[in-house]
C-alpha cells in the first residue's frame, strides 16, 4: 500500500528559523542519529558568521520569532560563540549540543551575551540514558561522563540546560526512567533539571539500529481532519544549510526537501510523504523546546 496523494502543508508563518550550523560533522557517532552525523560525514558543511548574519537580516521581514542551531555538533564550528552572540541581538536562540566539546572561555562569552540581551539562550544537551550503561551503547564509550561534565559546566555558568532524551525504552518504563534521570541530575548538582523527551526517527543510523518505517506509517489526508497543523514543524519552520533553505531539520538529506535559496521563496507546499512525517504527526512539536506529548496520537484507520 503506497500513499499515492499525501497531504501538503504550506508555511503559515516562519516562527522558527533553524541553522544547520555545523553541517553533518559531529565528534560522536550515535547509533540513532537520523542524519548519520559523524567525524567523517562532510555532506553538509559549516555555516559561516557572515552567512548566518545574512540570513538573520533576511529573517527580520519574515517576522521570525526564535532561532535554533543544530548539527552535527554546533560547538565544532569555530565561529559558534560569535554566531550566538550576534543572534541574541536579533531574538531568542537555542543550541542543540552533545555537551562534550566545551571550553570555559566560550561559556564566559555566552553568559555575558545572554545577560546583555533581552532574549534567552537555551542550551539543549542530548543524553540518552541516566547511566553510562544505558547511555553509552547508543552515544559511544565514555560519552555519559563527558556529557554530564558538560551539564555541570553549563549549570556552573548559570544556564538551566534542557536535557534532551530520545525515547529508546518501552512506554511502560517511561516514568521510572524519567525519575532516574531527575535523581541523577540532582545528584550532579543540577537542582531544577528540565527534561525533553523525543521520539526516535526511523531514518539514518536509527534505521540500522532498529528498523525503518513501514509503508503503512504515512500521514494521509484524512488524518489531518480536525488536526492542529501547528504541531507540524514544516507549518512554522525552515532550516538553512550550506545548500539553501530546507523544509525541516529532520529531512535535510531528502532532495525534495531543499525548497529554495531564499527564506522568502521557501513558503511553498511540502507533501508529507515520508515516514518521519508520521512520527512528527504522532507526537507533535518534536523540535520545539517544550516537551512533546508522551501519548501517541492515534492514527485514524486508513481508507
Amino acid at each position: 500500500m503506497t500513499n499515492a496523494s499525501p497531504p501538503t502543508i504550506t508555511l503559515s508563518n516562519l516562527d522558527h528559523l533553524w541553522f544547520q550550523v555545523a553541517g553533518t560533522t559531529c565528534n560522536l557517532t550515535c547509533q540513532h542519529c537520523f542524519i548519520s552525523c559523524s567525524p567523517k560525514n562532510k555532506s553538509f558543511g559549516f555555516l559561516s558568521l557572515e552567512e548566518v548574519e545574512r540570513r538573520l537580516n533576511e529573517s527580520i521581514k519574515m517576522g521570525v520569532k526564535e532561532y535554533f542551531f543544530t548539527g552535527g555538533e554546533p560547538f565544532l564550528n569555530p565561529q559558534l560563540t560569535a554566531i550566538l552572540q550576534l543572534t541574541l541581538q536579533y531574538g531568542p536562540a537555542t543550541v542543540l549540543t552533545n555537551g562534550t566539546v566545551l571550553k570555559e572561555e566560550w561559556l564566559e562569552v555566552l553568559r555575558a551575551a545572554e545577560d546583555a540581551s533581552l532574549y534567552t539562550l537555551e542550551i539543549r544537551i542530548s543524553i540518552d540514558g541516566f547511566s553510562p550503561e544505558t547511555n553509552d551503547p547508543i552515544r559511544g564509550e565514555g560519552t555519559f561522563a563527558r556529557a554530564m561534565k558538560g551539564v555541570k559546566t553549563f549549570v556552573d555558568f548559570g544556564f538551566l540546560p534542557i536535557i534532551t532524551i530520545a525515547r529508546t525504552w518501552p512506554d511502560e518504563e517511561e516514568q521510572e526512567i524519567v525519575n532516574r534521570f531527575v535523581e541523577m541530575l540532582k545528584e550532579t548538582g543540577y537542582f531544577r533539571p528540565r527534561l525533553k523527551i523525543l521520539p526516535t526517527l526511523q531514518i539514518g543510523a536509527e534505521e540500522e539500529r532498529t528498523r525503518g518505517y513501514f509503508e503503512s506509517e504515512r500521514v494521509t489526508r484524512e488524518m489531518l481532519n480536525d488536526f492542529d497543523q501547528t504541531q507540524l514543524i514544516c507549518e512554522h519552520s525552515r532550516i538553512v544549510t550550506d545548500r539553501g533553505v530546507h523544509v525541516c531539520p529532520i529531512l535535510i538529506e531528502l532532495p525534495q526537501a531543499l525548497l529554495a535559496s531564499s527564506l522568502a521563496d521557501s513558503n511553498g507546499g511540502f507533501a508529507l510523504s515520508e515516514g518521519a512525517c508520521f512520527t512528527c504527526y504522532q507526537y507533535g512539536a518534536i523540535c520545539s523546546n517544550p516537551s512533546s506529548s508522551s501519548a501517541i496520537r492515534e492514527a485514524k484507520p486508513r481508507a
Binding site: 508563518n13 516562527d15 533581552l118 544556564f159 528540565r194 517544550p290 508522551s294
Partner: protein, 267 residues
C-alpha cells in the same frame, strides 16, 4: 472612545484565576485612579478558591471581558483547561484546579463565559487597540519577553492592524515599544504573584492622548493574600498553590517558562 476631555485611561486586568480578592482590590485601585473603562483579558478561573465570587464583581463594575482558554473550557465543559502545558507534572496540577473550578462554576456563569468574545477592538484617541488573551492569532499562545523577538511583534501588529496589542496568559508582565509609535504589552495577571518573591499582583493602565500616543503603566496590587491562602486551604486546594500565594514563588507550571524567566524564580 475619543479623547474629548484630553486623556483616556483604561485599566487592563490579566488572568484572575478565581482570585476575587485581588480583583476587588484592583477594581478599587483603578477606580480611585479615575480610569475611564475596565477590561479583563480572560481566564477568570483556575488556581484559587470559590470561582463564582469573581462574576458579580465583573458585572457590578462593568468590566468588559475577553474569553481566555480557561473560559472557553469551563463555558463549554471541556475535559481540560487548554493552557498548553506539555510537562506531566504541570498538567497534573493544572487538572486539579480545572476539575475544582469546573465543579464549582454555576451554569449561569458558564453561559457568561461561553458568550465572551475572543478579542476586543477599540479605537482610542486615534489608536487601534487590540485586546486578546494569549496572542492575536492563538488564544493559548505563550508570549514571554525572552522568547519573543521584536520583529515577530512587528509582524503581528501589521497583520492584525493594531497600534497597541494587549495580552495576558503567561502571568508575567512585560512590554515592548515597536516602530511607528506602536506597542505590545503583556499585562501579567491578578491571579497569582509573578514569581518574584513578592505577594502582590499586577495590572496595567493604558493612557491615551492624541499628542502623546499611548503610555503604559504597570500597577502593583496589594490584597489580602493571607485570606486567599486560608480559603484555598479550606477548599483543600494543593498546598503547592497556597505556597505560591504566600511566598510569591511559582511552585507549579514551571516547565513552560523559558530559561531566563525560570532562572528569575526560586524553583
Amino acid at each position: 472612545m475619543t479623547a474629548t476631555s484630553g486623556k483616556i485611561r483604561i485599566a487592563c486586568f490579566g488572568g484572575i484565576y478565581n482570585n476575587y480578592l485581588a480583583l476587588q482590590a484592583a477594581i478599587h485601585d483603578a477606580q480611585c485612579r479615575g480610569v475611564d473603562a475596565l477590561y479583563c483579558l480572560g481566564d477568570m478561573g483556575a488556581f484559587g478558591p470559590h470561582p463564582n465570587r469573581v462574576f458579580p464583581l465583573l458585572s457590578e463594575h462593568a468590566v468588559q471581558c475577553v474569553q481566555g482558554n480557561y473560559d472557553d473550557s469551563i463555558g463549554n465543559s471541556l475535559d481540560d483547561c487548554q493552557c498548553g502545558y506539555t510537562d506531566p507534572r504541570d498538567n497534573h496540577f493544572a487538572q486539579i484546579s480545572y476539575d475544582y473550578t469546573l465543579a464549582n462554576t454555576s451554569q449561569v456563569n458558564r453561559e457568561f463565559l461561553r458568550s465572551l468574545p475572543g478579542s476586543i477592538r477599540l479605537e482610542v484617541a486615534g489608536k487601534r487597540v487590540l485586546l486578546c488573551h494569549g496572542s492575536p492569532r492563538k488564544t493559548n499562545e505563550f508570549l514571554w519577553e525572552s522568547t519573543t523577538s521584536t520583529h515577530f511583534l512587528e509582524r503581528l501588529a501589521d497583520e492584525y492592524a493594531a497600534d497597541v496589542i494587549v495580552v495576558t496568559h503567561t502571568g508575567i508582565k512585560w512590554r515592548r515599544k515597536l516602530s511607528c509609535g506602536r506597542h505590545f504589552v503583556n499585562v501579567g495577571c491578578l491571579g497569582r504573584p509573578e514569581n518574584d518573591g513578592q505577594t502582590n499582583v499586577w495590572y496595567a493602565i493604558l493612557e491615551f492622548d492624541s499628542s502623546h500616543g499611548c503610555q503604559i503603566e504597570f500597577v502593583p496590587v496589594v490584597y489580602d493574600y493571607r485570606r486567599l491562602a486560608q480559603e484555598m486551604r479550606q477548599q483543600k486546594l494543593p498546598l503547592e498553590f497556597v505556597a505560591a500565594v504566600e511566598t510569591g514563588w511559582w511552585t507549579t507550571c514551571l516547565e513552560v517558562l523559558p530559561g531566563k524567566e525560570r532562572r528569575a524564580g526560586q524553583y
